[in-house]
Symmetry: C2
Subunit: 299 residues, 2 copies
């Protein structure tokens, strides 16, 4: 039997990071390593180079998770894949409890904020911030706490035998998170993790002087090489008023042509760094009745 | 005496939106209209066209507030100014209380999340999500609640006579928020709110087909007209896999040249909308001892 693949996830088992990890790796032989915060996750990967990591990088409601971009840029880790997940928040409690029994709801502050509207109809319920969505579910189950509900995923409800008392309570249903799969850069250089002909996406970061036209030159050169831009985000460098960081995602059909385009833009950029070259991701698409189905993404 | 200028703010009096509003308008004759949520604020401005609004639009830690970009794009409101504020979170309670007395801390989920590290040293303290930072402070003062602290601004501590028991408890000190001042578009067309020769910044939104080079064409044309790009953010249009929205901020020295550049890019964009033309903002800069001073921003 193959050894288990170890995956560091942010949050406890049953949190969205585990759902994304399972969907991405499509195999059962996985060992999840829960990390309470993103800095903890980066530290875990630094200490054991054989571990893969999965991190949320952007969400359709709150935008990019800038902290993760910064840690990725400053690390020796590299992106080897991506997965897009529709986020659905479920309200869960011990079996037998109904919404009228609930006095407190525990969850991560971000999940509480995304469900604020729902709780306006229940002003008697106190919203309590916890370290993690799935951990809140786990504690209710373990300590058999009545009167308390958690906001967490369907997977968490299953794992901890809780009852879903309200489903899809997020205010905005267009709630998607894009996850990146990361690993040690040295590993990808020795192991051929992905055949070159399957690479069709890349994430870069570079800085540019704050000159008129410096970004347009870079993008024009990329377009001459038939490289597609699927994301761009500028970030002022705090304390350096005149310099900007740009995070961009590119897609392409011809890997060699893409390498040539990098050579062409390198002299125009400062500190160009390739954050990863990988295969465009699968995603969980919404279907009209509000459920999601897993289909491959053939953009 | 002039009638009071009415300003809709998100949050209760004493929240960061009020601090930004006072710093921007630089006058005392202001009447703050607290709105609990951003959608409430947009509704308030829709119902009374004489009210100004102030909204957070981006933060150095969490990135752009995409919801506000969307509501702005879909409204008849226009940006007339901006202000950048360093965000400092203070822990406050009734006079005489110390950190050892505190069992619960109440604040907005975002503020709780930004101070998570601080509370790791105080595992006995329960973090409770509230609707607003300043409202949490107000309730402690009004109900004379001991054992409870709030995370809110220095202004809130002053207004509600609370004692600051820990100052600057945010995990990351590079915490800046950019606020936009908005008003009815029709108002700016009749009233000359700002002399043309003081306009040196503009915010635009447009969509582009997902073609190689469509963005580089637009940016190249802008650079031919000596227009500077100070921010760019792409946003996939959910449900329209092949179309993207771009939010950009431009700065320039010559207003007429800027108008010509808009004419030049209009045929290249779909649905170009000017979100506002205004004067580059002031900001509260950090100085080495960690305090902030108000100075004009002469980029």
């Amino acid at each position: 039997m193959k050894p288990k693949k170890k995956i560091a996830i942010q949050g406890w088992p049953g949190a969205n990071h585990e759902i994304a990890a399972k969907a991405y790796f499509e195999e059962d032989n996985l060992e999840m390593i829960p990390c309470l915060t993103f800095p903890d996750l980066f530290q875990t990967l630094k200490e054991d180079r054989s571990i893969y990591g999965i991190i949320a990088i952007e969400n359709t409601l709150v935008g990019s998770i800038l902290q993760n971009y910064t840690m990725l840029k400053d690390s020796d880790l590299v992106i080897i894949g991506e997965y897009k997940l529709r986020i659905k928040h479920q309200l869960m409690a011990l079996p037998g409890q109904s919404i009228e029994d609930i006095r407190e709801v525990h969850s991560h502050p971000m999940a509480l904020a995304q469900c604020e509207e729902f709780f306006k109809d229940y002003p008697h319920i106190k919203l309590i911030a916890s370290e993690d969505t799935a951990l809140s579910a786990k504690l209710i189950a373990e300590e058999k706490r009545t009167g308390i509900a958690a906001i967490a995923s369907e997977l968490a409800a299953e794992m901890y035998n809780l009852n879903i008392i309200a489903s899809g309570i997020e205010t905005n249903k267009r709630n998607y998170t894009r996850f990146l799969v990361i690993t040690d850069r040295a590993l990808t250089e020795t192991d051929e993790l992905l055949e070159q002909d399957r690479i069709n996406k890349s994430s870069l970061v570079f800085s540019l002087p704050h000159d008129e036209g410096s970004l347009s030159k870079v993008l024009t050169v990329l377009s001459f090489y038939n490289i597609n831009l699927t994301k761009i985000q500028s970030l002022p460098i705090v304390g350096q008023e005149w310099e900007y960081l740009f995070y961009i995602d590119l897609t392409f059909n011809d890997y060699k042509r893409y390498l040539q385009s990098l050579d062409a833009i390198r002299p125009l950029c400062k500190k160009l760094k390739i954050l990863g070259e990988y295969e465009k991701g699968k995603q969980s698409y919404p279907i009209p009745n509000g459920n999601t189905i897993e289909i491959a993404n053939h953009e």
